[in-house]
């Protein structure tokens, strides 16, 4: 019963992820593309839950759905393209071919490799408690933790510096 439920949930998440990704890439309106991206993010969070990684799923919703998508929405708002925005213009056949090559190359090479040489997989995912994650962050991986906070600080300061415009300086 539980096995069957997990399979059904996995299929549902795959559908959500695929539909959201196609919408995010194909929609002419950028706000609709953003909605597609949010759908995909929720689907990936569901997959993290299926793999019994609830902390990562929670952070996925908190950081991606909560912060990054709002940032992208602000960017869309600042650019102010109407429904007849830049995405509705026709594209050349060459651009389609390039894009299709970008779709097919990783799918064929990576997909073929992982199907041909499958790695031994455990059927039950590893259990990691929040305490273990915290000990990891404050123990062996302290440097990465501190570096990512420095990177975030520098990125935000740099963003303010780049976008800042002095009065009468144009």
């Amino acid at each position: 019963m539980m096995e069957w439920l997990a399979k059904a949930a996995f299929a549902l998440y795959v559908l959500i992820i695929a539909g959201g990704a196609v919408l995010a890439v194909g929609a002419k309106n950028l706000v609709r593309a953003l909605v597609g991206l949010v759908l995909t993010l929720f689907g990936v969070a569901g997959m993290y839950l299926l793999m019994s990684a609830p902390v990562v799923a929670f952070m996925q919703i908190l950081i991606y759905v909560g912060a990054v998508s709002v940032l992208i929405f602000i960017a869309i708002m600042l650019v102010r393209t109407g429904p007849e925005g830049d995405e509705t213009k026709a594209r050349s056949l060459r651009q389609f071919l390039y894009a299709f090559f970008g779709l097919a190359a990783p799918a064929l090479i990576l997909g073929g490799t992982i199907i041909k040489r499958p790695v031994e997989s455990a059927s039950i995912p590893a259990e990691v408690s929040v305490a273990q994650l915290g000990e990891g962050l404050l123990g062996p991986y302290t440097l990465a933790f501190e570096l990512i906070s420095a990177v975030l600080l520098v990125a935000m300061a740099g963003a303010v510096l780049v976008a800042f415009e002095r009065r009468g300086d144009k």
Partner: protein, 102 residues
Amino acid sequence: MSPLLLYQLVAVMLLSIGLFGLIWRRTLIGMLISVELLLNGAGLSLVAAAQLTPASAVLGQLGTLLIMGLAAAEATLVLAIVVVVVRRFQTSDSSAVSELKG
């Protein structure tokens, strides 16, 4: 098919669609949305590999958290770049931004 293979295939699907969108999109924001798809594929693959193999699960989950932090930093910087580009070129079309020393 083993569970790990299924998760990896979903990650490859996200990678392919994201790469397609990165080339297909004309505006910088459309490209940013595609990059987020790519990064999600990377995170999914990393957590799947950490949870379903004997590899260190803590390392995999923390690595995915770091990817999320990098994605947030990247989105912040792209927002600033889009603001500057739109102010200077009045459009966010990536092919219009072809002028050096503007």
